[in-house]
Subunit: 196 residues, 2 copies
DNA sequence: CTCCAATCTTGTCACCGGAAAGATTGGGGG
DNA sequence: CCCCCAATCTTTCCGGTGACAAGATTGGAG
């Protein structure tokens, strides 16, 4: 199941109350972001997609930044879960990083654009810290000496993040678009193999 | 001199014709992007900053995507120039990559977000190719064997790009904000030193 | 000096985000 | 069982926005 969609809608087709508007709007947002980026849509369009008046989403998210905060927070949750599941091996963490960016592009494109949302949101910050912790500890295993821990972490993080960003923006040669995960694995192995 | 501002404005204070509207709007856009990202401003606001009617910019750029195309094109020009000037040493190219992103944040934030502009613009594509060429040739010197050229290039590119992106989004630990260039140099050295 | 093409302005339209005020609903307490 | 309240959603309105059309102004080429 992708972004934990619940879809109770079909049960009560009509009626004043939607039933699960919050989730419906979030899902609509994720779709819209996937189609045209984190700024290529309007709140009103999401409301239309959810079959609801244009002011309804405001009740659940406050404003547009509130919606994007919710998207980013959920994104960091899924992200942290993903990384933690791969935490055994450094290579796996890097590949999981890239796989998340590709598979959950909508989340990823919001998460690392803090000017779009309220980065000081507590639950969001917690999930972000959780993800960062996996990166730090897994990259630590790669570091040749404790003194190099910080640099190694930043390097590994930069490598994975940069690959993801370049792939998402379509900057990589077209061949990369077939199987980004395999290519990412090769690239990270090149780095981790020689540092170790 | 930053983004080649010319500023003929003060000469002719009044008058129907601005004199250099195109540049004035571009400069206003670069300022606005630096302040609030590539989507945190309006065309009309730029027109006001340039002291001109709300419809004047359209004559020079067509629409908002046209303006952002011009920004991205100019950005890739400056970027390619910067990289070419550093093309002797691989480490220098990487550092120049990061320095450009930090010093010309407004350009950088538009350049790698192709959904904002018309990526098929010929002059833009040419400058982008020019920059890519520097990356490929300089990273090639780092490659242990010709068979690894492609992977090494992508890895080096990802490293520099990822560091730049993480720094710009404020994701790196706060210590990094003092001197990103020095930190970038250390990170890239860690990578290039071990691959060679 | 005239006329033309580039440049800029004014006016208009549909749409957007946000706020205010009102309608509807379901569920818990009497 | 029913009423009332709080949550949810709708309607209405406002200032601002991007895009377009039509008109005014200007400098310079001929």
């Amino acid at each position: 199941m992708d972004h934990r969609s619940v879809e109770v809608r079909q049960i009560k087709q009509t009626g004043y109350h939607h039933g699960n508007l919050r989730r419906a709007v979030m899902d609509a947002a994720l779709e819209a972001i996937a189609e045209s980026g984190p700024a290529g849509w309007s709140l009103r369009e999401l409301a239309r997609r959810a079959g609801v008046s244009h002011a309804a989403p405001a009740h659940h998210f406050g404003d547009k930044a509130g919606l994007l905060t919710a998207v980013a927070a959920e994104g960091f949750e899924v992200f942290a879960d993903t990384l933690e599941r791969a935490a055994d091996d450094v290579l796996d963490v890097g590949v999981a990083y890239v796989r998340f960016a590709v598979a959950h592009r909508s989340y990823f494109e919001v998460m690392f654009r803090p000017e779009l949302y309220r980065a000081d949101d507590p639950s969001l910050a917690a999930a972000r810290e959780r993800a960062a912790h996996v990166l730090v500890t897994s990259a630590g295993k790669l570091s040749p000496s404790p003194a190099q821990d910080r640099l190694t972490t930043i390097a590994a993080w930069s490598l994975a993040h940069g690959f993801a960003g370049l792939w998402l923006s379509g900057a990589l040669p077209e061949a990369a678009h077939d199987d980004p995960e395999a290519l990412a694995r090769s690239v990270i192995r090149l780095f981790s193999g020689t540092t170790r």
